[in-house]
């Protein structure tokens, strides 16, 4: 357990010290959302219409982009070798890394999402919905992403393969996430969608670390 928490603590410290992980995904998220109105034009109705989609797509992409950081840096400088031969079972190792990833790369997006949603002229029910939906759905993104990251680690065409592997698995999250927001905007109940998102997160919590652990062992040999 001490190893588990010390690993999370180290990753958080590294993120704070280097800054790049936290800020990169956040910055990317904000940039996408700032660029959209510029590209699409300022009409309020159009913006409000596409806002849930833009927010979710931006969050998905921001997450996708930071996935390779889960293991890559440790792999390159040899730390991963040392982590793997250490006392922590592989799936806990993955879990610790995923938690650190979610805290540094995903949580900041969720915190800033309401402001961006408002600026896109989303109705206030939608703003709340998008925040909740992200909170409940996004752990799936990190967990599934870790499997992809472990599978493609150290590979030559890693980046691409990672996107191709992970993306199809992200689509359900996108669809239910957007559905939840649109339901809220249309004053329909959004609980069913949120429950589904939660269910996916729980499933991913069980499957993700195991699969990613196995993939890690493979990739290192």
């Amino acid at each position: 357990m001490k190893a588990f928490f010390s690993l999370i603590a180290r990753d958080l410290k590294l993120a704070a010290r280097q800054g790049s992980a936290v800020a990169l995904s956040l910055c990317f998220f904000v940039i996408v959302i700032v660029l959209f109105p510029l590209g699409v034009g300022p009409e309020m109705t159009v913006l409000a219409r596409i806002a849930p989609g833009v927010l979710w797509v931006a969050a998905l992409l921001a997450c996708l982009l930071t996935l390779d950081r889960i293991f890559q840096a440790d792999y390159e400088d040899g730390s991963l070798d040392q982590l793997v031969i250490g006392p922590l079972p592989l799936s806990f190792l993955v879990l610790a890394k995923v938690i650190a990833h979610w805290l540094t790369s995903v949580l900041p997006l969720i915190i800033i999402a309401p402001v961006l949603a408002l600026s896109l002229n989303l109705a206030s029910d939608g703003v709340i919905a998008v925040t909740f939906a992200l909170l409940i759905g996004s752990p799936t993104l990190s967990l599934i992403g870790a499997v992809g990251a472990a599978l493609t680690m150290g590979m030559r065409r890693g980046g691409v393969l990672l996107s191709l592997l992970v993306l199809p698995l992200y689509i359900p999250v996108l669809i239910f996430g957007v559905a939840a927001v649109e339901a809220a905007v249309a004053m329909l109940p959004m609980a069913p969608h949120l429950l589904l998102l939660g269910g996916m997160s729980l499933g991913a919590l069980v499957v993700g670390p195991l699969a990613a652990g196995a993939a890690l062992r493979l990739a290192l040999e």
Binding site: V34, P37, P42, M44
Partner: protein
């Protein structure tokens, strides 16, 4: 301006000259600010459409001007610093950036405060507003770049490169309203064919503009002097280190 800076860029002379200017610019700031606020808030008539909210203009418009002007100033100072290697030019660019960022931020905030009564929303993504937001990003990038280097002489060159490349955005921001049909007002003061508004509004506006400029000069002097002293301290420390 470039030539002037060039001539007075010697830090010692700069310190001497600025200590002479400083009290005057401080006094000017206070007087103009008082005059501008008085004429703007009490003398100028309320707009027949906008009512009293029009008075936000006297804060908003000069702040927007300053945001644009200070970035231009930074670019010029950077060029001088790069080409003639004058330390004071670099330092003034560095010192001006946060001030410019504040003015830009002020114009964004007052703009949105004004937008709520006028357009019924705090924020729209029209060209003028967005480009002003982008200007804020430019300032932030510039400041972040300064802070990313440990070595000030490197930082000043890197930041100068950025300021010079970034200055192409200033005309785009200035003319964005003319090029695209947007919600925001097109320029009516600083246009090619001269000002197009009544003098009862124009006068306080111009006074406020001057007041902001004086304020900027005052702040700039304070900040550059602090920078020069800090750098001297560092040089002292380093030479002490070499002695050891």
């Amino acid at each position: 301006m470039a030539i002037d800076l060039h001539k007075y860029a010697n830090p010692r002379r700069f310190l001497a000259i600025t200590s002479a200017i400083y009290p005057w610019s401080l006094a000017l700031t206070v007087i103009l600010l008082a005059a501008g606020l008085y004429t703007g808030l009490f003398v100028a008539p309320p707009d027949y459409q906008q009512g009293e909210t029009v008075r936000i203009m006297f804060v908003h418009v000069p702040a927007a001007w300053m945001g644009l002007m200070i970035y231009t100033f930074m670019a010029v100072a950077s060029a001088v610093g790069l080409i003639w290697k004058h330390p004071v030019a670099d330092l003034s660019a560095k010192a001006a950036a946060p001030i410019g960022a504040c003015f830009t931020f002020l114009s964004l905030v007052t703009g949105s405060l004004w937008g709520e009564p006028m357009w019924g929303t705090w924020w729209v993504w029209d060209a003028r507003l967005t480009s002003m937001l982008i200007l804020l990003f430019l300032y932030l990038g510039y400041i972040a770049l300064w802070q990313s280097f440990d070595d000030p002489s490197k930082a000043s060159k890197a930041a100068a490169i950025l300021a010079l490349v970034g200055v192409i955005n200033v005309p785009i921001i200035k003319f964005s309203v003319d090029w695209w049909n947007t919600l925001h007002q097109p320029a009516s003061v600083a246009t090619m064919s001269g000002p197009k508004i009544y003098s009862s509004i124009l006068t306080p506006l111009l006074i406020m503009g001057l007041a902001y400029t004086a304020f900027f000069v005052t702040l700039l002097i304070i900040r550059v002097r602090a920078e020069i002293l800090a750098r001297r301290l560092r040089i002292l420390q380093l030479s002490e280190l070499q002695e050891r």
